[in-house]
Each structure stands twice: as C-alpha cells, then as structure tokens.
C-alpha cells in the first residue's frame, strides 16, 4: 500500500498548510465586519496574511501541527489493519517532510517519540462502509483548543441549567465565556448531547468536521445552533480575545438518544484554524 501511505502524507501536508475554504471565507467576512484600526480587525488581517504565506510557502499555518485525528470509512474488501499501517507510516513521513512538530509524548517517561506516533497516537476511528471508496477525514487538532473543551452533566446547579435544550444553551455559553480568548478565537464550537460520556465526546468532536454552511438537519437543533452563534458573538470576546464582534465562526451540534437517567453535554472548541480535509481513495 505504498501509494496510500504517500496519499496520506500529502493530505496531512495540505491540512497543515492551508485553511478549509469555508473557514477562510468566514474569516474574511469577519475581518470586513470589524471597525477600522480595531485590534480584532488587525488580528484577523494577520490570520488571513498568515494563511496566504503558509499556502504560498507550504509551511504549517501554526507551529502546533496538532494531534492527527483520522475518521476512516473502509470499503468491505480492504482490511482495517492495512489502512491503519498506511496511516501510521504516512504520519511518520509527514512529520519529517512537512515538517510537523513532534507532539507525541510518553506519559510514563515524558519522552517525545519524535515522529508523532505512539499509543493511540495518531487517533484513528474506523467505520465499515458499503461504498467502494475509502474515505479518510483528517483533523489536525491543536492542544490550545483541545485544552479548552468542557464537559457538563445536567442538571447543573451553578448554571441553573436543566435537562433540556435551554440547559444545553447555558452550558455552551458558559464554556465559551470561561475560555475567553485563550484558545485562538474566532472558534468553531462543537457540541455533543448524549446519555453516555463517550457518545457525547464523540458527537461533539465529530461536529467540528462539518462545514460552516452545514446546519443540523433537525430544525430545533438548527435553531439552537443559530441562536448560540449570535449569542456567543454578542459576548464581545472577539478575535484572539482582544474584544470584538466575532468570537465564533460556527456552532455545530450533534445529538443522540440518552438514557432516562443521564444527560451529558460536551463542548469541543476548534481554534480559528480548524484544519480539516478529506481524502477519497
């Protein structure tokens, strides 16, 4: 599977050095909407300039090239193990050639493996697909934004948040308020609602892969996404937390059925450089 390995290396490079088109367009719109000479407008201008330089020089947008996270849909005739091996080799090659910052640290010895591979690193999630093509979605998730994620268990007394969508709304606003500008806004905010912690986290993280223009299919959820986007932007945190009108580019909510007794809300944050791409093989 030499070719797949090289394809993976290239999709990692593309993801590290260029912004998804929808994100770049949204940053441009945010730049236009901020007043002349404001720090937030200058911040957005540097982000766009950075994107131009990175794309032109093929250098990473950000020095934190992230945890590589792969969501893979595998056709019947292909084995998970073979794809996994190609991904790991692709990550090793990309670390050397892009280059990526080596980010995989052994928690027992505190040693960095140097090639971005290790236990559960990169993160790979497999699904069996009924189609003939292999589809690999990649996210390079920076630590600053990953550290900013927050988990809630409803009801939450502190927030007076009950077990309903209004309770979810309060959690999301609290999460964004609490991190202020520390995770490089404008953010994409991902929300997962479920009855187990794992499901909530998975749904929340997956939602960050949705394009900004793609709202939730359910009208109630879509309404909440739109309301939250507007309310988050009214907080005034702004680009890089310097104050301003654009704190989030999008809010994405995924939900599952929950157990009668449980109600979990996980809020995941992507920084302005929500680096994601798809490889179809």
């Amino acid at each position: 599977m030499l070719r797949l390995r090289d394809g993976i290396k290239e999709i990692i490079r593309k993801t590290a050095v260029s912004l998804p088109r929808d994100i770049e367009e949204a940053l441009k719109a945010a730049y236009e909407s901020e007043p002349e000479n404001s720090p937030s407008r200058e911040a957005l201008s540097q982000m766009l300039e950075n994107a131009r330089i990175a794309k032109g020089t093929l250098k990473p947008l950000c020095q934190d090239t992230g945890t590589p996270i792969f969501y893979v849909r595998v056709p019947r005739e292909l084995s998970f193990a073979v794809v996994e091996q190609s991904i790991i080799e692709g990550v090793r090659l990309a670390t050397e050639s892009v280059p990526l910052r080596p980010n995989a640290v052994d928690v027992l010895t505190e040693k960095n493996t140097g090639d971005n591979t290790g236990l559960f690193f990169p993160e790979i999630y497999f699904e069996q697909s009924e189609q003939d093509t292999l589809i690999i979605d990649l996210s390079l998730k920076g630590a600053g934004s990953e550290n900013a994620g927050t988990f809630y268990k409803l009801p939450d007394e502190r927030l007076k948040a009950g077990r309903d969508l209004d309770g979810v709304r309060k959690c999301v606003l609290d999460a964004v308020y609490s991190i202020q500008g520390r995770a490089c806004p404008p953010y994409t905010v991902g929300v997962g609602i479920a009855g187990t912690r794992l499901a909530a986290s998975k749904l929340s993280r997956n939602s960050l892969m949705r394009k900004l223009g793609e709202w939730a299919a359910d009208p109630m959820v879509m309404e909440l996404e739109k309301r939250l986007l507007s309310e988050i932007n009214s907080l005034g945190i702004g680009a890089m937390g310097l104050g301003g009108n654009c704190t989030a580019l999008g809010v994405k909510i995924n939900h599952a059925h929950r157990h009668t007794g449980s109600y979990f809300v996980d809020v995941s944050i992507a920084c302005w450089a929500n680096r994601r791409s798809r490889l179809v093989w």
Partner: protein, 200 residues
Amino acid sequence: MKDKAAIKIIETPLSEETARELRVGQSVLINGTIFTARDKVHGYLMSQKPRPEEMPFNLDGAIIYHCGPVISEENGSFTVIAAGPTTSQRMQMYEPFVISHYGVRGIIGKGGMSMEVAEAMRESGCVYLHAIGGAGALLAEKIKKVEGVWMLEEFGRAEAMWALRVEEFPAFVTIDSTGASIHAEVERTSKQRLSGLIQR
C-alpha cells in the same frame, strides 16, 4: 494594517523606562533578540534558579516568547519553520518569579495572564505583548536568525530556549505596567453579557 504612525517600534533589551512607557492598546513592532520559553524552561528557572553565569543568555531586560516552534536542522544550522505564540496561562504560576528574579521586561504570548502576573509586571516594570495565535508562518518570516539554543538535549526542540533575532515582530500591548489589562476588561464585559443571556 494599522496606521503606521500609530505603531511603536521597540528594541531589545528593553529598559525599565521603555517598558513603563508602553500602554495597553498600543501596537508594537519588536526588533532585536527574543528568547522562547514555555512550560519546561519556566519550571526549570523556578525550581533550579540557575544563576545568570550558568546560562548562555542574559535575561536582564529581555523579552521572553511563549512559543514552541517548528524548527528544522540541516548541517547543524537551524531554521524556524513556524513560530506562533502558545497559551500563556500555563506559565502563570512561574511568571511572577521569572519576571522579578531575572529582570524580564516583556512577555510575548497569547490569551493574556492572571492579575497576579499583572501585579508582578506593575512592580518590576514589564509588559505583556499579545501576538496572533496560529500565525506561525507569518511570525516565522519575522525571525531572521537563530542565534543560539539552551536546553535542547534536555527539553527537545519545542521546549528548548531559543534565542531568535527578529525584525518588525508584531504584537499588541494587552497588559501594561500600570496594572491595566485588556484581558480583564474583556472578561468583565463578557461576564455582564453572559448574565443577561442566561438570567441566573
């Protein structure tokens, strides 16, 4: 870009006077040498308290940069590939000591720092310079030369202390030596708006 005339150009090392003249909201361009330091270097400076003669760099009047760069090496010479700021909050517990003990006059980072750090800055005469997070490629272009490195073997490339020669490195003053902080201001405003939205 902002109006060029409104931008203040500062040279390293910073004098106490220059550091104390800077005010929140000002845009600056930095010329000279800056030193990267993140979690491990901060922890080391505070726990081991190395004396200036035990270090290859003089931090008196220095600007420290919260950054773990991507660096490539060819035939023993280093090139900075991407070098944006990292989240300064993680260095908060060490910074008051590092500022007062070593005489640091400027901290470049992102996301701001606590009121305890702001207080240390007020006492010693130091400022917080906010750079744009994620602008790794743009900021790497402002780095003209790697002048040296300390603790490379011990801490690795992302955590070592790099001495970087910069030209026109852009930042905003967001905490100054009067104790003013844009971060505290934004947090106050957003807290009021949050209360309105969730009606506790």
